[in-house]
């Protein structure tokens, strides 16, 4: 089978059984990655199951580009029902584990049930075994990875740290020590299954249907990334990492500061990308077959620790969101999140929430703004569920409910997931995607970048001159439903191939017209040869994921934003005085997607996308 490995693993942890199955055509119609997971989780999970129970299913998935010559193909993903939000969870990761899985001969792995004792999965080409993890249970991510690498003479390890073992609701699964399946608590799902790690070695090939064409696409990619108009953007990412956004977002008033109260940070130069690069970067790193190579290796001098990062999101969550301008503390807190296995966004957001609650006298603990050492201390406390950390480990939504006293107004989340480094008051379409993303507050399912900073050439090409003004106005609700709708189904295709968002979200090196060549050169399948059909597949994946959430009881009432964005005007900067008028954008967004005014998928929308069985389950047979 070209492009795909052609097989998958189904691991029943309760029974200790391992099955190798052929990859079904029914899944291939959804391309791969998030498409596979949408189909599987809809079919195999029942509504209402407890995410930390053995009934949850955890999937590790690749796509047809993973591990191949096509660039930006070092991405892979996991999905399950989230213990943080109770709805759809997916998290993507970059590195080398996904390619290794395909070389071992598998496109995805499905984990069911719960092991009787701590276990880990070893995949060594045809040899697949569930092994005792007693020795490594309790170890940090670095310790676990080193031990398994040594024990099995292999490189690629995915594992949880103490946070996942302690069922921290936003704990992550880590790969290659520093890379995260970060969001939505997949680390806790793995911990709830007594599954500590997945260690992989693969030595097989992946074949392409048209290797000559694939080779041409590979050669041509050099122009797209390194020689053409997007070269500076790519090289900027290579030099500064995603942290290059810090200073820029501050310029547009969209750098979340003080628990998303403000969008401008006075001390931005102290935590910006220039200082990170000049004073803390000691090396660079990259994912498999990446043209951009955006990873920074950093040394925390104060704590004498080397790790990767920080990304832009982490500078926000552990830095500006906590008014923490001590870059050394910030970098070490990032290293610690990785080593203990936690999502830096949710973790930092929880600490910022605690700082605001402490200031308001809602909690007895003293957690002060600006205190970088306290940030480090709280990261550890959350991972080990000690003191206040135990409360924060539940996520800000649950923590606020427990604290009471109006703490809910400081809990910056959507559907229970903490808000990432965007602010709808300064970037309306960013607010819309936060409100509507299937995994809760999330920028990676639907962030529109044309209006983020202002890309008139691309805006003009996509929408024409008459729509350009509305498309570029990031402070206006007009046309933003269209822009989020458009990128959402495109990113669903991207997340199914799986390609990195660097190259598809920004810089905009590849778009729909490029995808048929990529997929047909790899797979040879005619269903992927037509752009209209690819768009339809992307829409089908989005609607299927939304159906998953609708089956759990979600509707328009859950597509919302914190009051801070809806009714507290931005205090300073370019977005001063702005709030988000979400309803206007939601109405437009729902209309485009074929949802009713309550955000429920219209039956005819499901018919049009070939999801009749989903319609029957949601609305009954007629």
């Amino acid at each position: 089978m070209h492009g795909y490995a052609g097989k998958y693993l189904r691991i029943n942890l309760t029974e200790g059984t391992i099955k190798k199955e052929d990859l079904p055509e029914r899944w291939i119609e959804y391309i791969g990655g998030t498409g596979f997971c949408a189909r599987i989780l809809w079919d195999e999970l029942k509504a209402g199951i407890e995410p930390l129970s053995p009934e949850n299913i955890l999937i590790l998935a690749t796509g047809p580009t993973t591990g191949t010559l096509f660039p930006q193909s070092g991405r892979y993903m996991m999905a399950a029902k989230s213990p943080l939000t109770g709805v759809w969870a997916e998290a993507h990761c970059g590195g080398h584990l996904g390619p290794e899985l395909k070389y071992a001969g598998y496109d995805l792995v499905i984990f069911e049930g719960k092991a009787a004792r701590p276990s880990y999965l070893l995949i060594d080409d045809d040899r697949v075994e569930l092994l005792d993890a007693a020795e490594i249970w309790g170890m940090t991510v670095n310790e676990t990875t080193d031990r398994l690498r040594e024990k099995h003479s292999l490189e690629r390890v995915a594992c949880i740290g103490p946070a996942g073992e302690n069922l921290v609701r936003f704990s992550a699964v880590m790969t290659d020590k520093h890379r995260a399946f970060g969001r939505s608590g997949l680390g806790a799902v793995m911990g709830s299954k007594n599954l500590k790690a997945i260690a992989i070695r693969g030595t097989n090939d992946i074949t392409a249907a048209d290797p000559k064409k694939l080779g041409e696409l590979f050669k041509e990619s050099k122009y797209r990334f390194l020689e053409g108009p997007d070269a500076e953007g790519c090289l900027s990412l290579r030099e500064f990492g995603s942290a290059g956004l810090v200073e820029i977002e501050n310029e547009i008033g969209r750098l979340p500061t003080r628990n998303h109260k403000r969008g401008v940070f006075d001390l931005v130069e102290r935590v910006g990308s220039k200082r990170i690069r000049d004073e803390f970067r000691v090396a660079k790193n990259s994912c498999f077959n990446c043209k951009i190579q955006c990873k920074l290796v950093t040394l925390s001098k104060k704590y004498d620790n080397i790790g990767e990062g920080p990304e832009y999101e982490t500078v926000v969550s552990l830095g500006t969101g906590c008014l923490n301008s001590d870059l050394d503390d910030l970098i070490y807190a990032n290293h610690l999140c990785n080593d203990l296995g936690m999502d830096t966004i949710s973790c930092g957001s929880a600490i910022g929430f605690a700082m605001e609650c402490s200031e308001a006298g809602m909690i007895p603990d003293e957690v002060k703004w600006t205190d970088g050492e306290k940030v480090v201390e709280m990261v550890r406390a959350i991972a080990y569920r000690e003191g206040l950390g135990d409360l924060l480990a539940e996520g800000v939504k649950r923590a606020a409910e427990k604290i009471g006293s109006g703490a809910e107004k400081f809990a910056m989340h959507v559907k229970g997931q903490e808000i990432s480094g965007q602010d709808g008051r300064a970037h309306r379409s960013g607010g819309l995607t936060h409100a509507t993303s299937v995994r809760g507050a999330d920028h990676l399912r639907g962030l529109s970048v044309i209006d983020e900073i202002g890309y008139p050439e691309i805006g003009r090409r996509r929408y024409g001159e008459d729509k350009l003004k509305d498309a570029l106005d990031r402070h206006s609700e007009t046309f933003k439903g269209q822009m989020v709708f458009d990128v959402e189904h495109f990113y669903a295709v991207v997340d199914s191939l799986i390609l990195c968002k660097y190259g598809t979200m920004y810089p905009l090196c590849y778009y729909y017209p490029d995808i048929p060549d990529i997929l047909t050169s790899l797979t040879g399948r005619e269903i992927f040869a037509d752009v209209d059909n690819l768009e339809r597949i992307g829409k089908r994946i989005c609607v299927l994921r939304r159906a998953f959430n609708q089956r759990e009881g979600l509707s328009r009432k859950d597509d919302t934003l914190p009051d801070r964005f809806l009714s507290e005007p931005e205090e300073e900067g370019p977005a001063k005085g702005e709030v988000v008028n979400l309803d206007v954008m939601l109405d437009d967004y729902y209309r485009l997607w074929g949802y009713d005014e309550d955000g429920l998928i219209r039956p005819e929308t499901l018919d049009e996308l070939g999801l009749e069985e989903v319609k029957e389950e949601l609305y009954g047979k007629k």
Partner: protein, 129 residues
């Protein structure tokens, strides 16, 4: 109206007196004229800042955005000029991946004059999160 600074004449500004490299000036005054310009700030980011060797430049208020790009190219040479400008139909135009903001909003009209107390931010395009 361009303002010229003859060679060898020092322009006394807080930045020059402090001797800080991070705040340079792009001024030219006509010979014999006193310097009495209100200065506004051009902020440079990312690779642009690296190539210019500075993150802030002061310019007289009232120049156009096009004039700012021209002067940056003149002052800092090809490493900066090639990033900002390209030849199209025989004249230099702003390159696509360069973003220019004033008060955080993108500027598409290069003939726009910079007003008093406005700050211009210029950087190679970035986005995302």
């Amino acid at each position: 109206m361009s303002v010229f600074h003859p060679e060898g004449v020092k322009h006394h500004s807080p930045a020059n007196i402090a001797g800080k490299k991070d705040n340079e000036q792009l001024t030219r005054t006509p010979k014999g004229c006193h310097i009495n310009s209100i200065m506004t700030t051009v902020k440079l980011f990312g690779a642009l800042r690296d190539r210019a060797g500075t993150g802030k430049v002061e310019i007289p208020e009232g120049v156009t955005i096009r004039e700012i790009l021209d002067r940056l190219g003149e002052k800092y040479g090809p490493p900066v000029r090639d990033l900002l400008l390209e030849e199209k139909a025989g004249r230099p135009v702003k390159r696509q991946p360069v973003v220019i903001l004033i008060a955080g909003l993108p500027q598409l009209d290069l003939e726009r004059r910079v007003g008093p107390e406005e700050t211009v931010s210029i950087f190679p395009a970035v986005a995302g999160g």
